[in-house]
């Protein structure tokens, strides 16, 4: 699709950057927060921060669904594996530290842990190996949740259960906007979460918090346009909810996907690694589908885990309070090869994104 390349046009990017420079107030600091690991990847990979004025900060919020899975849930997955259940998960969940060990550690000790690209692969495996118990570790925000819901509604095989760890992102955004010391001026809302949920869940931000929100896509120009749109709103003194990613996001979102999620899951209070409990932020199976709950089926329940290892500052990185480079462990004791915190494990973790860019020295290449 050639349009994708046009959304990476360096000349257009420079023109938008010039507009952004003009619109940014000279005196104040403007802080814009995004909540998506892929937005951070684009920003870092294309060196977008180097195009922005020094007093315009774009910070990375908790946009990494793997990073915020509490250690207690990793421990539950490990327990399942140790009980002989084949635990099926996404690739970067494998190395996320639990209180004592990761799923990879359990696998190294002989547990059956398998990596898949999508939940459909777990269903296939369970159908092919009828005598074996499988548990799919369902991690992800609203982009991923509909596929889990779809498979559960489609009557998965009896030997497959689900360790549900899905969470929803707008309550985490609300948590951040209510942190006075973060002093946010605007949000870039996640692109693909928004293809599912539409625009309505973000209305609370301009309406109640007077906070601009722009839904942006994942190409560099999507983000630059999104930042420009926020600055325009701040200039006009009128916070709005706007959509830059119109080619993929509609006002109502994917109604079919939303309906599936509502049928299968209910929203409860939930623990987020590093952020504590966020109300109405975690999904649990409705009673009708409880038969597929891995926890009750295999009698596994961990109340509390060790979320942050000594010295680790993921809890500060994940709310954008510090940059990865401001963590003393970054690229010293904590590297992509030997990660200490979840932020360095997941491909959407802020620390890992920064580490990879540093290693590959890709910053600024595309637009130089």
């Amino acid at each position: 699709m050639s349009e994708t390349l046009r959304f990476r046009d360096p000349d257009l990017a420079k023109r938008v950057a010039k507009k952004i420079q003009k619109l940014t107030p000279k005196e104040d600091t403007v802080k814009i927060c995004h909540v998506c690991g892929t937005h951070e990847w684009t920003i870092t990979h294309y060196g977008l921060r180097s195009l922005l004025p020094k007093n315009l900060e774009v910070i990375a919020g908790p946009g990494c669904p793997v990073c915020i899975v509490p250690a207690s849930e990793i421990d539950e997955a490990v327990q399942l594996a140790q009980k002989g259940v084949a635990v099926v998960c996404f690739g970067d969940v494998l190395r996320v530290p639990g209180s004592k060990e990761s799923l990879l550690d359990a696998k190294a000790k002989g547990a059956d842990v398998r990596v898949v690209y999508g939940v459909g692969d777990a269903v296939k495996m369970a159908k092919q190996e009828v005598g074996k118990d499988f548990a799919f570790f369902a991690v992800g925000f609203e982009t991923t949740t509909p596929s889990t819901a779809l498979e559960i509604i489609s009557k998965p095989p009896e030997n497959l259960s689900f360790l549900v760890s899905h969470r929803v992102i707008p309550p985490a955004m609300q948590l951040l906007v209510e942190m006075p010391d973060l002093s946010l001026n605007g949000f870039i809302a996640p692109g693909h979460v928004s293809t599912i949920i539409g625009l309505k869940p973000y209305e609370v931000f301009p309406e109640q918090y007077k906070m601009p929100v722009v839904v942006a896509g994942f190409e560099p120009l999507d983000l630059l346009f999104g930042i420009y749109m926020i600055l325009k709103q701040l200039n006009n003194g009128k916070p709005l909810l706007e959509n830059e990613y119109v080619r993929a996001v509609t006002r109502e979102g994917n109604v079919k996907a939303q309906e599936l999620m509502r049928r299968v899951f209910e929203v409860k209070d939930g623990n987020w690694r590093g952020l504590g409990t966020i109300s109405l932020s975690k999904l649990e199976l409705r009673d009708k589908y409880k038969a597929y709950d891995a926890r009750s089926k295999h009698n596994v329940n961990v109340e509390h885990g060790v979320d942050i290892q000594p010295g680790c500052r993921c809890h500060l990185v994940v709310i954008g309070k510090i940059k990865p480079s401001e963590c003393p462990l970054f690229m010293r004791a904590c590297t992509p090869e030997k990660p200490i915190g979840a932020c360095m494990v997941s491909v959407e973790g802020t620390c890992r994104i920064w580490a990879k860019a540093k290693e590959e020295q890709q910053i600024g290449l595309e637009f130089s």
Partner: protein
């Protein structure tokens, strides 16, 4: 770069029983689940973890770029 969120648009080549064969470009063909969307052959879909989550609106893509060029031109002349 394999990434959870980044869903590269893929063109629907054929459909059958809730699945579609899609083309990610450069000869990369995959089978994906299209039960979350209403997609037909020729549509571009956003694929995430093996599932199409939205049908892309090509017209909107072109209009976005056109609109932005117009805005940038207008602002420069308004200086």
């Amino acid at each position: 770069m394999i990434n959870m969120c980044l869903a590269i648009p893929a063109e629907v080549i054929s459909t059958k029983d809730g699945k579609a064969r899609v083309d990610f470009g450069e000869g990369v063909l995959r089978e994906v689940n299209i039960e979350l969307v209403e997609a037909k052959v020729g549509d571009y879909v956003l694929v995430h973890a093996g599932y199409a989550i939205q049908v892309l609106d090509e017209k909107e893509a072109q209009e976005t770029l056109q609109l932005w060029n117009e805005i940038l031109e207008a602002e420069i002349s308004q200086k």
